[in-house]
Point group: C2
Chain length 213, copies 2
Amino acid sequence: MSAIRLLVLGAVRQHGRAHGYQVRNDLEFWGAHEWSNAKPGSIYHALKQMAKQGLLRAHEVGPSTAGGPPRTEYELTEQGGEEYLRLLREALTAYDQKMDVLSAGVGFIVDLERSEAVALLRERVRGMTEWRSSVTDYYTPESGPESLGHIGEIMNLWVSSADFGARWTLGLIERIEAGAYVFAGEGERSVQVLAEGERNPYATGVPHTGDEE
Amino acid sequence: MSAIRLLVLGAVRQHGRAHGYQVRNDLEFWGAHEWSNAKPGSIYHALKQMAKQGLLRAHEVGPSTAGGPPRTEYELTEQGGEEYLRLLREALTAYDQKMDVLSAGVGFIVDLERSEAVALLRERVRGMTEWRSSVTDYYTPESGPESLGHIGEIMNLWVSSADFGARWTLGLIERIEAGAYVFAGEGERSVQVLAEGERNPYATGVPHTGDEE
DNA sequence: ACCAGTCTATTCAATCTTGACTACTCTATG
DNA sequence: CATAGAGTAGTCAAGATTGAATAGACTGGT
């Protein structure tokens, strides 16, 4: 699973009704263009695709006063709402190494109830621990781990990384259980979106990118 | 950058000349189907694309004795060899969070000289540290980090993860400097490939997968 | 001898991703 | 007032990825 659908559904959901550019701006505001594949092309593609699949309802709207081509606004259908929650739960539980998916899940975690959030994160930790032992069992040759040579470093990387992920998740669980943040049903939510016309303080200045590409 | 080109170039290079199925089997042997997008479709696509771009030379070969369709064998061109080294160096230096790329880089690291490997890894650490401070500077609002609410957890995740990456890289550097493994120009290489007809001990049993999809 | 299953080897359509491009409006500046 | 630049909003073609499908040859059991 890529993070894009969850991000787009989440952004549209916050607004109730939003057009592509608004979604794009929100994702940028959240820093998602830094840690996910939330580029304009992907966002518009996801919107169209999900509209085709009945997760979003599309409304053609005249061009905005601010210039530019006519916009299409979207809102979640009931099916889209369910898919959003399904993706969110999956993002928090999946114990593989996709940081963008996890990040998106954390970004929307407060849309769940506190107890469910904790349960999902615990499940995540359980999965990681299990995966860890299955990997170490499976890839440790009879001839001892040294026989893997430098290839063993890859295993080491993945296992350490799973350990790191589990530790981090446990830390988050602790903070949540200690009462941090406001979850669903506990008062007004706090996922921020940009108000209509508001300036994005974290605009595409591209202040720090990866090394590659 | 995705890891697929590096993996495919590396696999072909090991053999001197290889067809798609051989590459696929090698990647599976290395466990790459577990930690990268090295699925058949991607492998064949990469081979064709790189042949089109002059990185690989293609040779049509009659169908093997073992049945199946006629195969195409590939070997690196000079340009392909350069591209391989470029991708390898980039994979080891890039300090973003793409574990598959790093894994592939580690898998082929012994194709470099020991001193260069260490230099690239040091550069990696340097980049990560710099990125870390630029992120913490940039995304820490005047109102204090608490004002970010649960969104701060995303930053925390990325920063911790960079710290983990840096620590792990330093560990690897240490082991390499202590004399571990056999690097280019130090005797016979040790990246394993499957010999023609050899059985893959880590065949597609798919013993442990991620949670999602 | 037959059939199911597995191995060899690759192709394909559908979908997703990327980076560049379009086109229009508003604003500041000399 | 011309015009460069930035902001608004979205499209497009090329490339990458995925999952399933194809098809012949061998293998083991009944």
